[in-house]
């Protein structure tokens, strides 16, 4: 404890004469958590456009199989056949890169990287992260990883193409597909740097939350955003190293002739010497990360919405303790459900039974979260800011996509719909769209704190409505296509009689995808244009309780010019009976609010 105090005092002193940073120190190799958060955010937006753009190209192929893509030649070059068709292997490359980019670069780095960095110090009342230097390294490892992944898109043999899950032997054998050559090597190298970045960030988040909370900020007074970021960081810290080990063994198999994942293989006219490996081993290692990873993606989004829904309903979040409990429950259970991705991979069916039980248990804390959101809205005084609309949209997606999880989680039903468009619909709604909405909601909500200006609300509404309807139009129809048994990752459905239908529906999906993607540029425009032309933000535009709104409009290095405020209450004192205003910030002592104190607060 004493070290923290000394540290804080030193920071206060240091703060008074700290205005001589060079451009490079301030904006590039910055150690300020707010700048690093913006770096993550802008890199995330860049990747979202690339990843989204890829999905548009393969949606063109799926919705309009006859289309001549000649107009894309400047971008795709040799990946188009002379008749303007997409190369079928490049189609797989697009699917693979879309998944990798969206899951890791946008929804992990872009979401956690941005909001954990930005909000943890501001909401717990700290001057900065525990280690600003490690935090800077975390971004630059991510940047390096991004550069490598980006380069891999342009190499001659193409980027990794074996699906974002990179199951060997497909990903291990360059003979199996050209993307498993240099492209796969770059993918693995890039991911190792990415994981290093995630770990550096995660250690920092955890340390900061545990050690650097301001006076009075006990764990039972932490905003739910911080709880979510904290637990997310713990999940990442425990699961990402397993992906490193999986990748490492894969690198050995690829380059050094080991047989961890390879056995009994005859390819390209010869039998390989590998004996005794198991492709299933890779799947276990991969999903040991892969499943917690989907919660790494969704928990921060749920944390963000908890805060936004409470603020804009002008009501305390219902069941604060239950919300924390469900985050913890989800976190623990997320480590024991991974094999539900593998029911029909040849894994022992007895394991399938076990994992089915564990999987369906995880639905309970998720259901609790939804009911608590609904009760928070009930009898609120609801202000529909763009952030609030996106949060409501998130809950809607979380319900729709969460419920379909009960189908796949049931191994007997999974036999029919495994690897069909049903699962594509499920995870895009529950994890893709929901987490994306959480991220966008967070940007709308905290933009005033990031840039000192407001984003335009009208454009925000337009962005919300096109996205909300558009995403449902893209992903809801995929349930039908999946129930009809259409396999995912198919370049074309013409080879099968069973899959001759749904051409109209596929066309509708593609058109909706293009419109939705286009609408994101409204957001991009709003984001950048508002930095200079947005209305100046007041100190607390949403009349919110958390500590970040007690800083100056544009907080400088060290966040608070004077002393760090002390915390006296939980963050959800909205519409307290008897209070003068409908919100009481966390730094207001009970002695200032005798009119509204509850019995135990007197």
């Amino acid at each position: 404890m004493s070290t923290t105090q000394i540290h804080v005092e030193a920071e206060v002193h240091h703060d008074d004469h700290d205005h001589h940073q060079s451009f490079v120190q301030k904006y590039i190799f910055s150690e300020d958590h707010k700048v690093i958060a913006k770096q993550f955010l802008i890199t995330g937006i860049f990747w979202a456009i690339i990843g989204g753009g890829m999905s548009i190209i393969f949606r063109l192929q799926l919705g309009f199989p006859e289309i001549n893509l000649g107009f894309l030649e400047p971008i795709l070059g040799g990946w188009l056949t002379p008749s303007g068709k997409l190369d079928s292997e490049f189609y797989l490359a697009l699917v693979t890169m879309h998944g990798t980019i969206m899951v890791f670069f946008v929804l992990t780095a872009g979401l956690s990287g941005t909001f954990s960095n930005f909000l943890i110090p501001l909401q717990i009342g700290a001057r900065d992260m525990a280690s600003g230097f490690m935090n800077m390294l975390s971004y630059w490892f991510f940047f390096l990883s991004s550069v490598i992944m980006f380069v891999s898109i342009f190499i001659e043999s193409g980027p990794a193409s074996g699906g974002w899950t990179i199951y060997p032997p497909l990903s291990a054998l360059p003979e199996a597909m050209s993307g498993s050559g240099l492209g796969m090597t770059l993918w693995l190298v890039s991911m190792v740097f990415f994981i290093a970045s995630t770990l550096l960030g995660g250690i920092n988040y955890i340390t900061t939350v545990i050690n650097m909370r301001t006076e009075g900020m006990s764990f039972s007074r932490l905003p739910l955003t911080i709880w979510a970021f904290f637990i997310t960081a713990v999940l990442g810290l425990l699961s990402f190293p397993v992906l490193v080990s999986a990748a490492l063994l894969l690198i050995f198999d690829r380059s050094f002739g080991t047989s961890f994942y390879l056995s009994d293989i005859y390819i390209a006219g010869e039998a390989l010497p590998n004996i005794g490996g198991s492709p299933i081993l890779f799947q276990h290692l991969f999903w040991f990360l892969g499943h917690p990873e989907v919660y790494i993606v969704i928990l921060p989004a749920l944390g963000i919405t908890s805060e936004i829904i409470s603020t804009n309903s002008r009501k305390p979040i219902f069941g604060y303790k239950a919300m924390i409990g469900s985050i913890l429950g989800i976190a623990v259970l997320s480590f024991v459900v991974w094999a539900h991705h593998m029911f029909i991979t040849g894994m022992n069916p007895f394991l399938g039974s076990i994992f089915m039980f564990l999987t369906l248990i995880i639905a309970i804390p998720s259901a609790v979260k939804v009911f608590n959101y609904l009760t928070t809205l009930w009898r609120g005084n609801i202000v529909l800011t763009p952030a609030m609309l996106f949060s409501i949209g998130l809950v809607s997606y979380f319900i729709s996509g969460g419920l379909t999880g009960l189908f796949m989680g049931n191994s007997a039903i999974d036999i029919m719909i495994h690897d069909t468009y049903f699962i594509v619909a499920h995870f895009h709604i529950v994890m893709g769209a929901a987490a994306f909405f959480g991220m966008v909601a967070g940007v709308y909500h905290w933009y005033p704190k990031m840039f000192g200006r407001m984003m335009n609300a009208k454009l925000g509404y337009l962005h919300f409505w096109i996205s909300f309807i558009g995403i449902y139009l893209v992903f809801f129809p995929l349930h039908y296509i999946g129930m009809a048994g259409f396999p995912r990752r198919y370049y074309s459905f013409t080879a099968f009689d069973a899959f001759s239908g749904f051409t109209d529906l596929n066309m509708l999906v593609s058109i909706a995808a293009i419109v939705t993607f286009g609408a994101q540029f409204i957001f991009v425009f709003n984001f950048f244009y508002s930095m200079w032309r947005g209305k100046r933000a007041p100190e607390n535009p949403w009349r919110s309780n958390t500590l970040e709104w007690t800083t100056p409009v544009e907080p400088g290095h060290g966040n608070w010019p004077g002393e760090i405020p002390t915390v006296h209450r939980w963050p959800y004192d909205y519409s307290k009976p008897g209070a003068k205003e409908d919100f009481i910030p966390q730094n207001i002592p009970f002695s200032d609010t005798p009119e509204s104190n509850l019995d135990h607060e007197k």
Binding site: I267, I382, L384, I392, S400, M483
Partner: protein
């Protein structure tokens, strides 16, 4: 030309967006928005949420009912009846939850939209409610799990001893299928014995292999137990036959299997669907490379008698490829010739 039109169109869109931005910002400043109040947009958005709810549910019900046949795959296996039942039970349960929660979520913002004179209810927790909505889902889920688990255990149980054994092997980018032949037993195989002709790596040192035949279509008898013995030689594939609700990965180095009872012959299904060219199809459902989308194989379900007739008319692979006699150990050649149905002795 189209490039110019597209360019002008894009410019127009950008101009409109800038216009909305500037005008709404100016109006906002003029009206002193953001100081205390919440503008008209609040009500507009709240109404839109309700309209969205009504519109999307209408669309959902209309499409689901009107197009039922296009997404409901006709069923042709015994265990499939159980899993379909489970599917629709789950659909009913989740459907009810879906309707209630979405309706509340999208209607509350309208009912409880911001009014300056209103005050929200300070309602931070209620342990009884929390307990109810922890326990109710828990009970419902337990019921769903138990029915699912029982079905799963039955389906994944060991195949009955009288099953027809059929070997299916996936490779880039096709399937190969092998039957046990006259003795009904599949001979051994080894990936090191694979060559361009002997694609399945059949081991002719094994006596059981001599009469094995490798047809170009899969035939299975209606109403009998059928076991697919599944393997792969290069990357992971997946044996998927939607009509039989059958799916199992084909993994190099890890033999897998799936057994089922087909309930409708191809002819039955042609009648049911009214499609004279109907065929059951075997589909690859695990990403395996360039040709993943075209690994098609036809499954024919025969009446048991027709199946026996077809089975007996098939010729041993060894007979069709007599060169491979040289791979048979010297002392077994005579026996091999007999069981492969080769007339007279070769050599």
């Amino acid at each position: 030309m189209s490039g110019i039109v597209l360019g002008i169109g894009l410019l127009l869109v950008v101009a409109i967006i800038i216009a909305i931005f500037r005008v709404s910002t100016l109006i906002g400043i003029a009206k002193q928005e953001g100081k205390e109040g919440v503008g008209k947009s609040n009500k507009v958005n709240a109404v839109l949420l309700v309209l969205f709810l009504i519109g999307s549910l209408t669309l959902l019900f209309w499409y689901s009912i009107a197009n039922f046949d296009s997404y409901d795959v006709p069923l042709a296996s015994e265990h499939g009846a159980v899993t379909d039942q489970l599917f629709w039970t789950t659909m009913t349960v989740t459907g009810i939850v879906f309707l209630i929660t979405q309706a509340l979520l999208l209607v509350f913002p309208f009912i409880y939209r911001y009014k300056k004179t209103n005050q929200a209810l300070f309602y931070p927790d209620n342990n009884k409610l929390e307990l109810i909505w922890t326990l109710v889902p828990a009970v419902v889920l337990t019921l769903l799990i138990f029915t699912g688990w029982k079905a799963w255990v039955d389906i994944m149980d060991k195949a009955p001893d009288d099953s027809e054994q059929i070997e299916i092997m996936g490779y880039q980018f096709a399937w190969a299928v092998r039957y046990g032949g006259a003795d009904g037993e599949l001979g051994g195989s080894d990936f090191r014995l694979i060559d361009l002709d002997n694609r399945m790596g059949v081991d002719f040192a094994d006596r059981k292999a001599h009469d094995d035949f490798i047809p170009t279509e899969i035939h299975v008898p209606k109403g009998k137990n059928v076991e697919f013995k599944i393997r792969a030689t290069d990357v992971i594939h997946s044996v998927y036959a939607p009509h039989f609700r059958l799916q199992m990965n084909a993994v190099p180095g890890l033999p897998t299997s799936f057994w089922f009872v087909p309930t409708k012959s191809t002819a039955d299904m042609r009648e049911e669907t009214g499609d004279d060219s109907f065929n059951y199809e075997l589909v690859c459902n695990k990403i395996c490379g360039r040709g993943h989308f075209a690994m098609r194989y036809i499954i024919v379900v025969d009446e048991p008698d027709d199946y026996t007739k077809w089975y007996n008319s098939q010729q041993a692979w060894l007979k069709l490829n007599p060169d491979y006699m040289s791979k048979v150990p010297e002392e077994l050649r005579e026996v091999a010739a007999i069981s492969a149905g080769i007339d007279g002795t070769t050599d």
